[in-house]
Amino acid sequence: AQSVTQPDIHITVSEGASLELRCNYSYGATPYLFWYVQSPGQGLQLLLKYFSGDTLVQGIKGFEAEFKRSQSSFNLRKPSVHWSDAAEYFCAVGATNKLIFGTGTLLAVQP
């Protein structure tokens, strides 16, 4: 069955530190992969997506993600976190007629 796993429920990083949020997927074919961010009281905003081609994809707000087929992973990274990055992050895989989301990782940023 198709699924997405985000192993880290909650992560705290210091402002200016690097960030990596983990995502593992289970999908039979070549996956379409997405990262969304959800700030309090806001809807989901797309950060980046992978469909094919270059396995390192760039997104908005300085985020990037790397697709690794051998590890079934699509981890999100940012070299230097800003306080405004505090939010919940969701990884998702595109399936027939829907997106399948992970349970999310809540990011806290310490000053």
Binding site: V4, Y32, F34, Y36, G41, Q42, G43, L44, Q45, L46, K49, F51, F90, A92, G94, A95, T96, N97, K98, L99, I100, F101, G102, T103, G104
Partner: protein, 115 residues
């Protein structure tokens, strides 16, 4: 409008009552989705419309839930005989097509609380 609009933003209802949640998708988007997000969880798929028809309603939890999109634009999610377990944020999304590689744009959601 510029984005997906959902009304109301908050709804408190008593157990057993009927509620309607509205979604205005981005103009020109033929695909429309409803998701439900419970506390501490990711969004879970409920139903997908392509145009006026419900192409996939496999995520609706039971027959108390129903959704319509009569003119292929605005959609209404209807919940009968609400239960406390229905309390969640209901998210609507739209996209240009229903293909797996098409970006979906989400509204801010309706927070439903059943007391």
């Amino acid at each position: 409008g510029a984005g997906v609009s959902q009304t109301p933003s908050n709804k408190v209802t008593e157990k057993g009552k009927y509620v309607e949640l509205r979604c205005d998708p981005i103009s020109g988007h033929t695909a429309l989705y409803w998701y439900r997000q419970s506390l501490g969880q990711g969004p879970e798929f409920l139903i997908y419309f392509q145009g006026t028809g419900a192409a996939d309603d496999s995520g609706l939890p039971n027959d108390r839930f129903f959704a319509v999109r009569p003119e292929g634009s605005v959609s209404t999610l209807k919940i009968q005989r609400t239960e406390r377990g229905d309390s969640a944020v209901y998210l609507c999304a739209s996209s240009l097509s229903g293909r797996e590689n098409t970006e979906a744009f989400f509204g801010q959601g309706t927070r439903l609380t059943v007391v």
